[in-house]
Amino acid sequence: MNPMRRRRAIESALVHVALVIGVAFALYPVAWVAALAFSGTPAPEPQVMPWPQQPTTAHFEEVVGATATIGDDSVWLFGRQLANSLVVALATATVGVLIAIPAAYALARFDFLGKRSGVGVLLATQMFPAVASAIPLYLVLEALGLLNTRTGLVLCYASTAVPFAIFQLRAAFEAIPVDLEEAAMVDGATRVGAFVRVVLPIARPAIAVTALFAFMSAYNEFILAATLLDDSRMFTLPVMLQHYVGEYDAKWEAFAAGALVVSLPVMALFYVAQRHLVAGLASGGVKG
């Protein structure tokens, strides 16, 4: 038993070494962003370790304390925009996943007219660079009366996220054995009932990841948000961040501070979501 245990210990140590190297690789550039965000007056010098120069929290105070006078009242712009960002991104994730789930299930389980071409069109939407479609999109939203509304923005983001969500979820649904639903349906459940009670719980990891992707794509986007919205009280945080980059100069320290602040909720969300990534099996009780 002893050599076996020693082998286990060595192996576990190696795994940790590999993961620590991975974490170092992941963190090093971000550490530079952090060093910049905490620096007073960064002097250009070739440094190896990302330490802030003349440490200060002034840039964070500037970003978080951003206010604006709109009309006659003073608005805490950062708070508003953080709330907007979270609401828009959460709504995008919810709407996007809700749209994608039934469609993905249909693609995974049914055979129907137009299935092949539908999948082809979905894949095709991802291939087309959006270089010339900004103005047509503006036109569509104007026709729908959704310009300058967060609803319109959410619908745009969600529709953009839907094709990937469908692909991801279809693969997850296909991996679930059909027998489980059939058994439920024999027991008297409807198709919808079997889907909700049997399939969805098992697909939870995939749904969590898909929702996370939709959240991320909406949370970091700024060009569309700046183009479709006309009121700074509706803007999302990335729009505010982009303000630190001007025509001639950029306040990189404030931008870096803002970028770190913006990414905190994402990390928190990921911390919460990551437990769901493995929870599907335990609750579903699938045996291959």
């Binding site: 991975g22 604006a68 700046a226 961040l241």
Partner: protein, 739 residues
């Protein structure tokens, strides 16, 4: 009581009559700008003051990030949605006039109010199109603690370098940027653009101006590869005796006596006009930008908008902007008292206003590429400048002649006839009605997805794709058939594998996609497998830390990577320096963006870093649904680790990974951000991929949307072909594996 009734009715009637009128009287005026900091604060204060004088007019101020400003104007104003007034640089007036985004200011224009250079700058085809607010140009910042006075000639900075302490550079400015170089170019009597709109960045005078910069770089008097942030940081940290920069640098410096708002002390500084060039005896003349107030066509018709415009361009408003935001006023009757503003005002008098010609936008890219090429020593001035002229000509070439839409209509008609015939055939033979009936339940699960994706994704893309059949300047496009495609595929008549040609860019794009996808999948799956081990301490911490590259907005991390690869001050350079110290052998710092191989590596490193968490998360999620007993059974059977991975784990997670890999490959193919922000196409556009070419044609090369859309369609066709091909291969592999 009864007698009061008519009175009450009368009152009600009066109110009813007054109500809509008082509502209509409060006119709303919308003003968009991209001001920040002090400038924004002054603008808000001025608007408050205006509303105190004109309570009937409501003013909506909107601060739009500069990067989104032009795109927002161009999409909103044509639909009557945009602002009544907006603030932008005068050099865009030519383009805005062509797209009918601006209208003459009418009675808001005061012919005697502005200095001549400002009036001239905002005049397009004999008509003033905007109200000049402030003048912006480069000037010379002097660090009083490092240098006594500014040398009279630019050439003197080379000698000055020897007298400075080590680590201090004589003159910090953006040498590889044509905007900054124009100040020297003008002293040699050349221009970026001639008056007739032809390219001016050519000939021996331009070559001489670049040779002078080369001497300064060789003497170490000017930092190589400097960008705006580096210039600011060098001067602010007391590492540059002089800096050539604009008024925006002053906002970062604190007071000229060295005191800073946070209580620390910096060096003392002041501003003077730029020196002369000894070779010609002429003063350096920087480019002048006139920040102007423009009226949209809708705004120009509103008296309230014109009233606000008059107020914002008035003397009291200009004084407020000067005193609180150090803006150099464009008005004759505002005289500077602050020495910094005085110096910039003096510089503005000799500065050269930027041309409003739309050709100006096409001139920057070739000029920048040639300048960098010559400064790197990759080409002689003669060759590089001739190439720049050719590139400019390519962008400015006349659009293809209008084509007859008849072939397109015929093709469409034939296509729909064929489609109808096929449908009819199917209906007759295969029992279509039966199939439709059986498809109905499935369609019920799908209909909302079809509607959402159809209207908000597919429709805009199809309309966008259709623009590839059109050409011509914005506002005057015509149908040209397939001319854009033919032009791209023929590499615009040049050599097929020249820099910037479709075929070379395609090769780079394929290499880029393959390398990145391999790295993403390799790193992502490996880390995902490690994270999914049954027993792992700190699993949650690892998971969250490893996903950070994906969580931080990539705009800023891409720039952090670019900074790490800086030849002089980057962290990678720092690493190689400490490595060479440790080894005892000198390693030359690498100039990452001067060769294709290293610049491409830098791009790939950045993108691999950005993309691996995605594959890792997908892997972890996929492993989450692999039944553990299968893996355990394999272990009991005595399968080796590698065999278990290859024969059990991989086939189990494969189906979930395939869509992520396919889409990941497509997204990498179209990954515009990293290429644009890290290498920016350097050297000489060789690291550009197809999608960044498309963006350049749409946004920096004279707004040729049709041409950009043609690139987009070609990318689409390529990806479609590639994915079909891969599908076939996979199907064949599966078939063979089964047999």
């Amino acid at each position: 009581m009864m007698r009061l009734r008519p009175l009450a009715l009368l009152l009600l009637a009066t109110v009813a009559l007054l109500w809509p009128r008082s509502g209509a009287a409060a006119e709303r005026v919308r003003l968009w700008h991209s001001w920040r900091g002090q400038e924004q604060a002054v603008a808000e204060a001025l608007v408050l003051e205006f509303r105190a004088q004109q309570p009937d007019i409501e003013v909506e101020l909107l601060s739009v990030p500069y990067d989104a400003f032009s795109a927002k104007l161009a999409s909103a104003i044509p639909f009557g949605e945009g602002p009544d007034l907006f603030v932008d640089s005068h050099e865009r007036l030519g383009d805005y006039a062509r797209r009918q985004l601006v209208a003459p200011p009418g009675d808001a224009w005061d012919p005697a109010a502005f200095v001549d250079v400002a009036t001239a700058a905002v005049t397009v085809e004999g008509q003033p199109l905007a109200l000049p607010l402030s003048l912006k140009s480069l000037a010379l910042y002097v660090d009083d603690d490092l240098a006594a006075a500014a040398p009279p000639y630019l050439e003197d900075f080379a000698q000055l370098q020897a007298r400075l302490p080590p680590g201090v550079v004589a003159l910090a400015y953006e040498a590889p940027n044509a905007y900054a170089h124009a100040a020297i170019l003008h002293a040699f009597g050349a221009r970026m653009l001639h008056d007739d709109g032809s390219f001016g960045f050519v000939g021996p005078r331009t070559a001489d101006s670049i040779a002078l910069v080369q001497d300064l770089l060789d003497a170490g008097a000017v930092p190589r590869d400097a960008d705006g942030a580096l210039v600011t940081n060098l001067f602010r940290a007391g590492k540059a005796a002089f800096a050539m920069s604009g008024p925006w640098l002053a906002a970062d410096l604190g007071a000229p006596d060295g005191t800073r708002p946070d209580g620390s002390r910096g060096h003392r500084w002041h501003v003077v006009p730029l020196p002369r060039v000894r070779a010609t005896g002429e003063p350096m003349q920087p480019l002048l930008t006139v920040e102007s107030l423009m009226l949209s066509p809708a705004g120009a018709r509103k008296p309230a908008a014109r009233a606000l415009a008059r107020w914002l361009a008035s003397q009291p408003a200009a004084l407020a902007r000067m005193q609180q935001a150090r803006a150099v006023s464009a008005r004759r009757d505002v005289v500077a008292d602050d020495p910094v503003v005085q110096a910039f005002a003096q510089q503005a008098r000799t500065a050269v206003p930027m041309s409003t010609s739309t050709a100006m936008r096409a001139a920057w890219e070739p000029a920048n590429k040639a300048l960098r090429k010559i400064l790197r020593g990759d080409a002689t001035a003669e060759l590089a400048l001739a190439e720049a002229a050719r590139r400019f000509e390519q962008v400015m070439r006349p659009p293809p002649p209008p084509a007859s839409p008849l072939p397109l209509l015929l093709a469409l008609a034939a296509g729909s006839l064929l489609g109808a015939w096929v449908l009819l055939q199917r209906a007759r033979t295969a029992g279509l009605r039966e199939r439709v009936r059986r498809s109905l339940p499935a369609w019920a699960w799908l209909v909302h997805a079809v509607v959402a994706v159809g209207t908000l994704v597919v429709l805009p893309l199809v309309v966008g794709a259709a623009t590839s059949l059109f050409a011509g300047p914005p506002g005057d496009v015509h149908y040209v058939g397939l001319a854009n495609f033919i032009d791209i595929l023929r590499a615009r008549g040049g050599p097929l594998f020249a820099s910037g040609s479709f075929w070379l860019t395609l090769a780079v794009t394929l290499l880029w996609t393959a390398t990145n996808v391999l790295l993403h999948v390799g790193i992502g799956v490996a880390l995902g497998l490690l994270l999914a081990r049954p027993v792992l301490r700190l699993r949650a911490a690892y998971r969250v830390l490893l996903v950070i590259p994906w969580a931080v907005p990539n705009y800023v991390t891409a720039l952090a990577w670019k900074g790490m690869f800086h030849r002089q001050f980057g962290a990678v350079t720092g690493l190689t320096m400490s490595l060479s110290e440790w080894l005892g052998t000198p390693i030359e710092p690498i100039s990452w963006f001067s060769r294709f191989s290293t610049a491409f590596t830098a791009n790939v490193a950045t993108n691999a870093w950005l993309g691996f968490p995605f594959m890792m998360v997908v892997t972890v999620a996929a492993l989450g649904s692999v039944p553990k007993d299968v893996l355990e059974a394999a272990e009991v059977d005595g399968a080796g680790r590698w065999q278990r991975f290859w024969h059990v784990t991989l086939p189990m997670i494969g189906p979930s990974l395939v869509p992520a890999i396919t889409l990941g490959a497509i997204w990498t193919f179209n990954m515009f951000n990293v290429v644009f922000l890290v290498s920016g196409g350097d050297p000489d556009g060789t690291t550009d991929i197809l999608v960044s070419e498309a963006y350049r044609w749409a946004f920096t090369r004279d707004a040729q949307y049709g041409y950009a859309a043609a690139y987009a369609v070609l990318i689409f066709v390529l990806l479609l072909g590639l994915s079909r091909g891969l599908d076939r291969l996979r199907a064949r592999a599966v078939a063979r594996g089964g047999a």
